[in-house]
């Protein structure tokens, strides 16, 4: 796979592909992903962690913005913000350890470390004088939890995210598809301040175990990184997964996380089955699993057991008492 294909796999949209190709000519291009300090990080985060691993393999410098101020702008109470940041700062690096990536070119940056600086703030005010309130609200509508009476903070949110592209000196912003409107907003507004627009790379938002989206703020929809083995099994067991229909959170996680890891490592995905039901199933790629699932050769219960086992393997690195303590302080 060449660099472009590596970046593109598992993505859903790139604005624009030809610009990305230009960026790839650079000796050391820079990409960033911002994760707002909000709810608790869950296994869905592995989607972007894996994609960042792809960026690393493609020779990028990778910056992860631990966006504490953005968290507060999206309803994280100010009095727990620093504690939640502490938890993210502990747990996100472990996700890279879990998938065993070389993180020499990975850097973590705390939002408030540069977003309160004079030049940055001046640019926030400048951009706010060019962007309409309506446009700002629209931009963050799929990201910020607005409720009935949107707070002003949610309208400042996309302006700061746009400026992060400039102040983090990146060539590419990478995020989930829910960030699309903010990314387009950034491309439209950076130019007004004399800054260049960036390439935007997006991965899909996968369904939750229950519900449409694996959400940091909905406990049932997701598996928390600190969930113990039994909880993982139970949650997976209760997940929506109808025989023959692959549109669910389990299959999506299998595709974007488990099988991406397996294929890269040239490992097989094994579904254990009693001999009387035909014995173990062994898969080398996602497509074959999906075909078997649609044709009902692979039963949801067997699939769930195998996926739960893989998730528990991934979560081994998080089994530390200390993490639990840091988390309990923050939530």
């Amino acid at each position: 796979m060449n660099k472009f294909e590596l970046i593109k796999r598992n993505t859903v949209e790139i604005i624009e592909e030809n610009e990305l190709k230009e960026v790839l000519k650079k000796k050391k291009p820079v990409v960033y992903l911002g994760t707002a300090i909000t709810g608790t990080p869950h296994v869905g985060y592995f989607l972007w962690v894996l994609k960042l691993a792809d960026f690393l393999k493609a020779g990028f410098k990778v910056k992860i913005l631990l966006a504490d101020l953005h968290g507060a702008l999206d309803n994280t109470p100010w009095n727990v913000l620093e504690k939640r940041y502490n938890y993210y700062a502990k747990v996100i690096p472990l996700m890279f350890k879990a998938i065993d990536v070389n993180i020499k070119d990975l850097e973590f940056i705390k939002g408030s470390s540069f977003q309160l600086k004079k030049e940055y703030v001046f640019d926030v005010l400048r951009m706010s004088s060019f962007a309409s309130a309506k446009e700002c609200k629209k931009a963050s509508s799929e990201v910020v939890k607005f409720g009935d009476n949107p707070k002003l903070s949610g309208l400042i949110y996309p302006i700061m995210q746009a400026l992060d592209e400039e102040y983090l000196r990146v060539d590419v912003q990478f995020a989930g598809l829910d960030q699309r409107k903010i990314m387009v907003f950034a491309r439209e507004n950076l130019g007004k301040l004399g800054y260049k627009r960036r390439v935007e790379v997006m991965i899909p938002i996968i369904p939750g175990l229950v519900g449409e989206k694996m959400s940091a703020s909905d406990e049932k929809s997701k598996i928390d990184l600190l969930d113990d083995e039994e909880t993982v099994k139970k949650k997976i067991n209760n997940a929506e997964c109808v025989a023959g229909n692959p549109n669910n959170g389990i299959m999506a996680f299998l595709k974007y996380v488990i099988m991406t890891i397996k294929e890269d490592r040239k490992e097989k995905f094994v579904v254990k089955r009693d001999k009387k039901y035909g014995g173990d199933l062994v898969y080398g790629d996602y497509e074959t699993i999906e075909k078997d699932f649609i044709n009902k050769k692979l039963h949801p219960l067997d699939l769930k057991n195998a996926v739960a086992e893989e998730i528990n393997k991934l979560l081994k690195v998080f089994k530390k008492k200390e993490l639990k303590k840091v988390k309990d302080l923050a939530y």
Copy 2:
């Protein structure tokens, strides 16, 4: 006149009077007025300059915020902002010279000198997470020129004005009645950040020479501080001033500026008139002038001539070539 009466004269509202009385017990209370760097300062500014003179006489420390960033948030182009600030910084102090006040306790502060600091900006973000976008827009609706598609900057405007009360360490904010909604917004929102609410003192907005309001951005409505004697005469001559009806910009300026100065100095206001029309009229207070005007004993033309003369006296200090140069750079 006691201190309370001195502060209250010519005002239209005080929120709350009993709080002001408490403030007056302090040894050196502090008041501020902010003037956004927008259009060109005009003679209407003398209303607040005179009121600030009252605050000085009442023993206040007086701070004038030359609000450059607020100007930009309300449509002053960023590329002329500094030049306009330079003009305000030259011309506003001269207004105090024009009315001959002791300015030992008067201080000028540039908005951007503290409004880009970390702590201030952090509080802007904090307040934005408590205040709804709707509330912010409503607050600045009478101050900011919104147009059809309000820019986000106009919604950030009242948050910064609220925080100015805290960061300028004042007991009282003083302004024109058009600022009322922002002042109430400040009182409602400072508490959410753990700051105390301030006393708000307001003077009326007087009519323009033409139109409802003496506006920095409408040339015909106002007399510019740098207007020459002939221009002043011409503008006053063209002003709306119907015999018998005292509701116009000329009478308001007479009341709030000219007669306030005259009464303080125990000087008389003289309307020159040819002997054949009854000779000069001499007034010691505004009320008598108004009565004569309503009863048509005082003709608009005679009144206009006298007012033009008084304004030209006030504007003598501004007759400097250097000021004109600074102004020409800025507009």
